[in-house]
């Protein structure tokens, strides 16, 4: 069948190749997984089952149930963010839908959108589907992959219309402090940039609490914050996210959402409400376990000579393997059956690095890092 040009022109994701290589073997320990290894807290799953039992299988309001929007707004008050649940919150089918809606709402044909890289692989295609042109803004290992005004300046981001910001970052695990965000916010105000802030990993930070650019002076009115339940509550498959922003932006996003999605999955909304109400202890335990794994993995990589900065969030470490990261990852998979994702898949600045997910049991992490150490020894 003839397909549309815009679909044909979308590049294949670089992750696909590694997925196929890894799937072809059955002895693989995968450090290539971008989702939690935990299951959603039982209370949330149980609430979802209860909803099904009571026959709650119809649509909800387009923007999501009133209770869930209320609970989301209350949660964000705890982060010094104030959003009106009636007009400034939109519940979506995964954070992915919220990102897509934000692009379709904020990008006019011909607009350019600055995307710091390395970053999650969906932003550039999302911008292109919305008719915009992505502009790559490489971040630097020397800055631990934080976005700086210098990086923005060097890439010519001052001329763009929108900035996509994702911290804690996939794939690097990098986080940004309030002070660092203040500099980016100043750049955005000076060049009149709006921001889509994908904060899906905000609950997974180690040491310092998450900082949002939307709390910087003058930024709330020019920022759409995207978040969701997938990473914090380990419920990726339930597909539930949300967007927070000024009423006019959320209203416009909801206009698209009502035609394309109608409402986010009802069962998932029920689970999410329970997650917000009663599952914070479990999130805390998951974060503590991620933190132990993070420390183990980072210390082991540094000990074996793969320089790794200390990632402040998400569940990724980003060791430097030097040279051709794709070849390194392929050889590692071939020789030792350990799957990692080459950093260059995530765009400019990722080359010479590997994305290592520590959303895997401690036992497997130990085995995998032992194998990587052996691979390095035998390669020399």
């Amino acid at each position: 069948m003839r397909t549309a040009e815009r679909a044909r022109e979308l590049p294949e994701s670089g992750i696909r190749k590694f997925f196929e290589l890894a799937e072809a073997r059955d002895d693989v320990i995968s450090l290539g997984v971008g989702e939690p290894d935990f299951s959603a807290p039982w209370a949330a799953r149980n609430a979802a089952i209860g909803g099904l039992e009571r026959g709650r299988t119809s649509y909800t309001a387009n923007r999501g149930t009133a209770e869930l929007r209320e609970a989301i707004a209350t949660r964000h008050e705890g982060y010094d963010q104030s959003y009106d649940p009636g007009e400034e919150v939109l519940v979506t089918t995964g954070a992915s839908e919220a990102v897509d809606l934000a692009f379709r709402t904020l990008v006019d044909p011909g607009d350019t959108v600055a995307i710091h890289e390395p970053s999650y692989i969906s932003y550039a295609p999302g911008v292109e589907l919305a008719g915009g042109e992505p502009l790559s803004v490489p971040t630097r290992a020397a800055d631990d992959f934080a976005l700086t005004p210098e990086c923005l300046e060097a890439a010519g981001a001052g001329e763009t219309d929108l900035l996509v910001l994702c911290y804690p970052n996939n794939p690097t695990g990098a986080t940004m402090t309030d002070a660092q965000l203040a500099e980016v916010a100043a750049f955005c105000r000076e060049h009149d940039l709006r921001v889509v802030a994908d904060e899906i990993y905000s609950a997974l930070t180690y040491g310092a609490d998450h900082a949002s650019i939307a709390t910087q002076p003058g930024m709330r009115e020019r920022t759409v914050v995207v978040n969701g339940f997938s990473k914090a509550y380990a419920m990726t498959g339930l597909r539930l996210g949300y967007a927070l922003g000024p009423a006019d932006a959320i209203d416009a996003m909801n206009r698209i959402h009502q035609y394309t999605m109608l409402s986010a999955p009802t069962t998932a909304q029920i689970a999410a409400l329970e997650a917000l109400r009663s599952c914070d202890d479990e999130v805390r335990e998951m974060v503590e376990e991620y933190n132990r794994r993070r420390r183990l993995v980072v210390s082991r990589f540094n000990a074996m000579g793969l320089d790794t900065f200390e990632p402040g969030g998400a569940f990724y470490a980003f060791p430097e393997c030097g040279g051709d990261d794709e070849a390194f990852a392929e050889e590692l998979l071939e020789a030792e059956g350990v799957a990692v994702v080459p950093g260059s898949v995530f765009g400019a600045g990722g080359e010479g690095h590997l994305r290592v997910s520590y959303a895997t049991s401690m036992r497997e992490l130990k085995e995998a890092t032992d194998r990587i150490a052996r691979f390095l020894e035998e390669r020399d």
């Binding site: 590694f18 997925f19 890894a22 693989v28 290539g32 997984v33 971008g34 420390r295």
Partner: protein
Amino acid sequence: MEAEREVLDVLARNAREDIEDIAAQTGLDADAVEAAIASLEADGVVHGYQAVVDWDRTEDGKIRALVEINVELDRETGYEQVADRIAKFPAVDALHLVSGDYDFAVEVLGGSMDDVSRFISEQVAPMPEVTQTVTHYIMETYKDGGVRFADGDDDDRLSVSP
């Protein structure tokens, strides 16, 4: 104290972690981990290290029972004294003073139902303070020590995902 808590969190999940790995996971150095463990042991926070065993899967098995015990105290005898006497039996795996309808909840481990019955009727019931015992044999254990006893911890996630 923070260090001890971090070390304890690791040990409570896996008491077989070696010192180097505990150090890596907690961000402490190996000496600090050793010191924390020594002080946890000295302070009676950590009393020992045991495997979580599903006895039903062993060849000769073991029978476990939960036993409710009611006691009558007098001027000379308190819960502490009764507990001390019951705890001395090696068959007693765990002993708790509880609120509710009875006084002590006892976990008894024996080679057979007969062993456990005889232990209760011949050793525990005749104690002068004991007024009543109710024995519940454990038919099946689904979770113990925080560990779910079940097959299949299948990871059905895609092996590589964005």
